[in-house]
């Protein structure tokens, strides 16, 4: 495999894939970069050259930008918090020998297979509807005034919906990590006088650190681009407008492609900064 000949053959065979990937990524990126410096509003028929950085300054200085950044961070942070903590607890629970382990594990993974649009609609109409929703019935059953989830607690509701979807993913990865824990280590800790909580915090949690960072990294990348869940529930109203959603509004609702493209590029830069920071933190964990 390592000979000169086989290496150049391998390169030759990989070339088409690499080429497709490059085109796939570079063409949209270049187009977005190009549009972001244009005054491009298709409905008005304007496609004028050379706004310069005007689109960028307009996007960043608008009041909705800062709100969107804060909303995005709160949403991603909230979902990460629920999925990681919930995932750890579920993984510990599923690691216990129980009757019907196989079916239970498959059921736990199930939410991940539901399409985001579908799950958000199901939550919106079946659970969170203030008149007919299950929660409303539950609240009334307990003698309380039902909550209108999506207008009273819009951000929290979306966090709940998305966390429900991503919890299985976190659980699955964390479960494999729990299962790879050496039982002799836990027994040694038990003999050393560590109680259940000490064993969790000194043995199991450090063992899971790597898996936890992987979960955080992967989820962050995907969660920064949440769209469908917001679109079908609040439509960006009530302070649930994330950066992704703001870009969408600029391009589709305001029909300002130039401004939207500038926002898109800013979102890419911000996401990369977040990813870099995470990689730095994770990097330490992955080395050990």
């Amino acid at each position: 495999m390592a000979t000169q000949h086989s290496r150049s053959a391998a390169r030759l065979m990989m070339a088409p894939a690499v080429f497709v990937l490059l085109v796939w990524m570079l063409v949209p990126l270049c187009l977005t970069l190009w549009f972001s410096v244009m005054d491009y509003r298709p409905m008005r028929g304007t496609f004028d050259c050379c706004e310069g950085l005007g689109n960028y300054t307009r996007f960043v200085t608008s009041s909705s930008f800062q709100d969107a950044v804060v909303t995005t961070l709160m949403m991603v942070g909230g979902i990460l918090l629920i999925t990681v903590i919930g995932g750890i607890l579920l993984a510990l629970l599923l690691d216990q020998p129980i009757w019907g382990q196989g079916p239970v594990r498959i059921l736990v993974i199930a939410p991940f297979f539901v399409m985001p649009t579908v799950s958000a609609l199901v939550w919106k109409n079946m659970f969170m509807n203030p008149v007919n929703g299950l929660f409303a019935h539950l609240w009334r059953g307990l003698g309380m005034e039902p909550i209108d989830w999506l207008s009273q607690l819009p951000l929290f509701s979306i966090i709940l919906i998305v966390a429900w979807m991503w919890l299985p993913f976190a659980t699955l990865i964390l479960l494999t990590s729990v299962q790879s824990m050496s039982s002799e280590q836990l027994e040694a800790a038990e003999m050393d006088g560590a109680g259940a909580f000490s064993r969790f915090f000194y043995m199991i949690l450090p063992h899971m650190a790597r898996a936890i960072t992987v979960v955080i990294l992967i989820q962050t990348i995907f969660l920064l681009s949440i769209f469908a869940e917001i679109f079908v529930t609040t439509g960006g109203a009530f302070g649930t407008r994330t950066l992704t959603y703001l870009v969408y509004q600029r391009v589709i609702e305001s029909q300002n492609v130039g401004l939207g493209s500038a926002g898109g590029i800013i979102a890419v830069i911000l996401a990369n900064i977040v990813a870099l920071v995470l990689m730095r933190i994770v990097g330490k964990n992955l080395d050990a």
């Binding site: 002799e184 006088g193 560590a194 000194y202």
Partner: protein, 335 residues
């Protein structure tokens, strides 16, 4: 103090009884070795003593007090595992300190004990390393260090040397024996290697299928094995067993004769045979002899390293009559 008494201790996993009711007393300060083939229940027995498995019946007493239901941490025993079970994310120092930290020991006392354990085990230079950066022997010593600092009533070793190479194993064997001399704490040691058992033990417990076959000092077991199993298990190379005519001549069903208690001659003797494989160890040579009559498949004899016997040579073997072990139909020793 570390006197451990097992009183009719029984262990079953579901319907399978791995240890039928069993009695055993381990005296304070003794070095006791549990030895037996794989799956004989020796590790399970150790884990019962440690409290890592619940007994299915009977009582375990440590220093006279009932410890059957006492959780492992409260029994005052320290265990060294086969895989060492070091905590990979902690430095050597933190590994050794862990049991003391869990016990809430004052910091300066912890430091003092770590320093003395590290000095005793030659780990002073490695205290800041992680277990992953240590060699097998060093990891073993960290595991022992973690046990020592607790100043336990007894040490439990679960096949601690089986992951080491032959040279290191010999060295660690000496170190553990040395440690026992120095600390004079009770040690219970599980192994499947009868050489480890013979060289280290004050008292050997031979187990088979969860049943104690014999308890005694290494030389008692070597000189007077109670049955065929112990006779075959203790001693290396294995004892030769003969049945039939030769045994009947000596009023036994089976006779056993150790390789070192046979003499060889090229001219005359009791049994004639041809030399098969010869294992030259330098000082000694083990010859595998195929006897002419089918008394036994092959017989092993231990001769001086200077003897030059080759494959296919015809030789005569004679037993030393006073060193023949006699067994009846059920495999029990005939006195």
């Amino acid at each position: 103090m570390g006197r451990i008494t097992l009183d009719k201790v029984r262990k079953a996993f579901g319907d399978v009884e791995v240890i039928p009711p069993l009695d055993l007393t381990i005296e304070d300060g003794e070095f006791v070795v549990f030895v037996g083939p794989s799956g004989c229940g020796k590790s399970t027995l150790l884990r019962l003593i440690a409290g890592l498995e619940d007994v299915s019946g009977g009582q375990i007493r440590i220093d006279g007090e009932d410890a059957t239901m006492v959780p492992p941490a409260k029994r005052g025993l320290a265990m060294v595992f086969q895989s060492y079970a070091l905590y990979p994310h902690m430095s050597v120092k933190k590994n050794i300190a862990f049991p003391m930290k869990m016990a809430g020991m004052p910091q300066d006392e912890q430091e003092r004990r770590i320093a003395s354990a590290a000095k005793a085990l030659n780990l002073t230079d490695y205290l800041d390393r992680r277990p992953g950066q240590l060699s097998g022997g060093q990891r073993q010593r960290v595991a022992i260090g973690r046990a020592i600092v607790r100043e336990p009533a007894a040490f439990l070793f679960d096949e601690p040397l089986s992951n080491l190479d032959a040279a290191l194993r010999h060295g660690m064997r000496l170190e553990i024996s040395e440690l026992h001399e120095r600390l004079t704490t009770t040690m219970v040691y599980v192994t499947h290697d009868q050489v480890e058992a013979m060289t280290m033990a004050d008292k050997i417990v031979v187990l088979q299928a969860g049943v104690i076959e014999q308890v005694g000092s290494p030389l008692e077991l070597y000189r007077a094995p109670l049955n065929k199993f112990v006779a075959g298990f203790i001693g290396s190379p294995k004892m030769n067993f003969l049945e039939g005519e030769e045994a009947a001549k000596r009023n036994a069903h089976t006779i056993g004769i150790r390789p070192e208690h046979l003499t060889m001659s090229t001219t005359e003797g009791a049994w004639r045979g041809t030399v098969g494989v010869a294992e030259h160890l330098g000082a000694d040579t083990f010859l595998h002899i195929h006897p002419d009559s089918a008394r036994s498949e092959t017989m092993t004899i231990r001769v001086d390293g200077s003897v030059t016997a080759r494959h296919g040579d015809v030789v005569w073997l004679s037993p030393q009559e006073e060193n023949i072990h006699r067994f009846d139909e059920t495999g029990l020793r005939i006195a």
